[in-house]
Amino acid sequence: MTSGITASSGRHPTAPVLIRFAMAKIKKDTDLMDRRVYRIAAILIFGAVAIGFFRHFISLFIISESYAVTSPWLSSIFPPEMHGQVTSVVLIPLGLLVVTMFRNVVGISTFGTSTPVLLAIALRETSLIFGLIFLIASGLVGSFVRSHLSRLHILLIPALSIVLTVAATSMLIIVLVLHHQGSVPLDYFSPLSIVVITWMIERFAILQLESGTREALKTAAGTLFVAIVIYGIIRFHLISHFLLLYPETILIITGLLLLLGRYTGLRWTEYYRFRDLMKK
């Protein structure tokens, strides 16, 4: 049977027929799957819009004094005293939608899926400039410490813990110095930013070990870029107010994510990666 390999004696007529048959079958299968996904997505999106409109019109007639938020014509399901804490949470799905677009359609790699969102929320609390100062300063200190630790032949997990300790401490020192200079109010200090930045440094260090510094820097730049885009979107108060008033929007986002889940086209960065194949 192995001797069946013969040099191609011209084109055999069956191949194109077989391929056409297969293509038709595959198309049928994926069409069926797509239709199911579209249906669920449509239910989610239109359902959310319907619920939103329904609540909107109801609220025109019944306005509860205690729950009235910024807009006098609408009531929110969240009591006002909760808004401070809930705002960040309702922004997470929106951020995740942006991350998914960047990762699956554009093809930018990031540390995990939620890291850019959390970083953007942290930036929203600290302001962009101070967030970036924290990130870059602690990242530099961390990598400096790491390069020295590797010379001492310290095992991986203790080394990583030392790096993270130093990074978190250096952020505290920056806050203290800025405070004593009197240039910055302490409002800029947010525990979330320290948590997120520590997490990012850990991911960076691991990726650097696994795939090299170049890959780690590329992913860090991707994470930062996506986080800044999300920050640019969520810093508009209108958006967080809208999400607080209409939490149904989360259903719309879920629907869009479902649609993205069936996107099997090429990512934008793949057009670049396969550019030589394109130039035929």
Partner: protein, 317 residues
């Protein structure tokens, strides 16, 4: 953009949505990921793999490990390592000094640290704790030794639903530090599936026809034991049940073709190396219907040969 789609290019999204997630069961993936388990399973049906000398499972075994029992030349590998990370090729060793293939020397401290890091899961999938094993160091076959730089080249066969669809010869470079991984700078060379002869190369996503270090052409290398390699690749499907897998071979100077590992998440660069999109070939296999998996390996090999005659798998040179 239209031009690119017409070449039938497979992107990451489609690979994940329509191929690897559909045909590769996570349980079967885990079996293939553990190289020690995979080797044992392959040996059961008498597929040649590099011999395992010894295994270390716990940290305390490192100190008391008797490396005098090992032959002069051997390879240190993490059982669940990926992309060739954590692999150490030892050329020779005496008491307390290890000499790597690239002539670097390792002290006892560095040696123990490396083993401890492997056990801690530094190089393994998902960072779980791992095992270290020591295996036979394959010797580069003569046909490759002129072209390649250090290291041993390997041959990846992409097997879709038990039928080989594409092949790639991977040549290590100075940059890849002897490793045959394209991400680390090795060269991928497409293979004519009918003859087992190498075609054009790709280096960091760019076309190339010469090896950057040896300056020798990568084209026209006739891979020894090609028919055996294809046959073994077909047989492997019955062992791992991975419908979309890369089977990595090495051709040893003395012992012939051996399987190094089976990769359940093969990359897309094989398209650049063969200068062709994969979709046409994958569709051609799908055209044989739903039950290809249940066929015997002889029947699947027959499908492969039919596809060759149908010129689907052949590359216009």
């Amino acid at each position: 953009m239209k031009k690119l789609n017409s070449t039938g290019l497979l992107g990451l999204n489609r690979r994940n949505a329509s191929y690897s997630s559909v045909w590769n069961d996570s349980q079967h993936l885990a079996r293939a990921d553990d190289k020690l388990k995979a080797k044992a399973m392959l040996q059961e049906i008498e597929i040649p793999v590099p011999e395992t000398y010894s295994v270390i499972e716990h940290q305390f075994e490192i100190r008391s490990f008797q490396d005098a029992k090992l032959p002069q030349s051997f390879v240190v590998k993490p059982a669940r390592g990926r992309e060739g990370r954590g692999i150490l090729v030892i050329e020779s060793h005496t008491d307390g000094v290890w000499r790597k293939k690239n002539s670097q020397l390792l002290s006892r401290l560095e040696w123990e640290l490396h083993l401890a890091n492997i056990l801690a899961g530094l190089y393994s999938l998902g960072g779980r704790s791992d095992r270290v094993f020591f295996e036979y160091c394959t010797e580069c076959h003569d046909v490759f030794s002129e072209v390649t730089y250090q290291g041993t080249p390997d041959i990846r066969i992409l097997v879709y639903r038990g039928v080989p669809v594409a092949g790639m010869l991977r040549l290590p470079t100075k940059e890849s530090d002897g490793r045959a991984n394209l991400h680390q700078g090795a060269i991928g060379v497409g293979i004519d599936m009918a003859e087992g002869v190498s075609l054009h190369g790709v280096h960091h996503s760019r076309y190339t026809d010469i090896h950057p270090d040896t300056r020798k052409p990568v084209k026209g290398i006739r891979i020894p034991f090609w028919k055996n390699i294809v046959e073994i690749a077909v047989k492997t499907y019955s062992v791992f049940q991975l419908g979309y897998a890369g089977v990595d071979f090495v051709v040893d100077k003395l012992r012939g073709p051996m399987i190094l590992e089976v990769n359940g998440r093969p990359g897309l660069a094989i398209q650049l190396a063969n200068r062709i999109g994969l979709l046409d070939r994958l569709n051609a296999v799908d055209a044989y219907g739903k039950s290809i998996e249940e066929k015997t390996w002889q029947e699947r090999l027959h499908i492969f040969n039919e596809l060759l005659i149908d010129s689907v798998h052949r590359i216009p040179r």
